[in-house]
Amino acid sequence: MPDASSQTVTPKLGDRVKLRHAAGMTGRIVELRGPLGPGGVEIYRVQLRRKPEPEYIEVRADQIEILPASN
């Protein structure tokens, strides 16, 4: 069974994701930032739900796991 780090699905705009090394923190991809990581790795801008204002973080694909869509 493939582990999470071997995930090959490309994250998309609007995907819900879990941040690795972040105690289960989740967020939503709000921008595909392009190949701005070391060696041209793709970077994703993730919105984290916080009150009173949301927070943002830009991460590499290997730092996130895509969560199943919730309806």
Partner: protein, 195 residues
């Protein structure tokens, strides 16, 4: 080695700006002339130039964050990435020199003295200031002309574009050297701690 942000500026953003420039050329050469359309095109060109300049600066800043984060242990990377991005002005404010300086100085250096080392940068920063003032004039359809930087002509906007292009290369070079030095220092400190 150029950043991906600079490559995108050169291979995508400048190409798009050149297409707008060529369109302005056509409208300015219309016979009979259409000054209203020429004015609209020039305002559009100015706003698009400012938007692409902001996009380049934001891309370069993001790329720098990722380089710094990658030099830290995995458990600390999210903290670095979040802190470097918190309240970043380039995500919302106009890309004035002050905005750029504040955001890039998060990487623990003073930008102005480094830029001042090249005497050509003073005029480029002045042009950037003019671009921002005229960008606001264009975006808000203001009737009050900014006190400096005019006349508002195609030639003037081209001068601003060239200054943005030259400043992009300067910022790219400065950040490359800055992060190289910091990463070398960080490696040295780590090996001293481990010794």
């Amino acid at each position: 080695m150029p950043s991906n942000a600079l490559l995108r500026w050169q291979n995508d953003r400048l190409v798009r700006l050149n297409a707008i420039d060529a369109q302005c050329d056509v409208v300015f050469a219309l016979a009979p002339p259409n000054p209203e359309l020429a004015d609209e095109d020039l305002r559009g060109y100015t706003m698009i130039l400012s938007a692409h300049w902001q996009g380049f600066c934001r891309d370069l800043h993001s790329e720098c964050i990722q380089i710094v984060a990658a030099a830290t242990p995995p458990a600390m990377q999210l903290m670095i990435q979040k802190q470097c991005l918190a309240g970043r002005q380039l995500d919302g404010a106009n890309p004035s020199y002050d905005t750029i300086r504040k955001d890039f100085e998060r990487f623990d250096f003073a930008l102005t003295p480094v830029l001042d080392a090249n005497p050509a940068n003073a005029l480029r920063i002045t042009h950037l200031d003019h671009l921002n003032k005229w960008r606001n004039y264009a975006a808000h359809h203001s009737t009050r002309l900014p006190p400096a930087g005019g006349p508002f002509t195609l030639a003037t906007v081209r001068v601003w574009r060239n200054s943005c292009d030259e400043l992009a290369a300067e910022l790219d070079r400065i950040m490359y050297n800055q992060l190289q030095a910091q990463c070398r220092g960080s490696r040295r400190n780590r090996s001293n701690l481990n010794a």
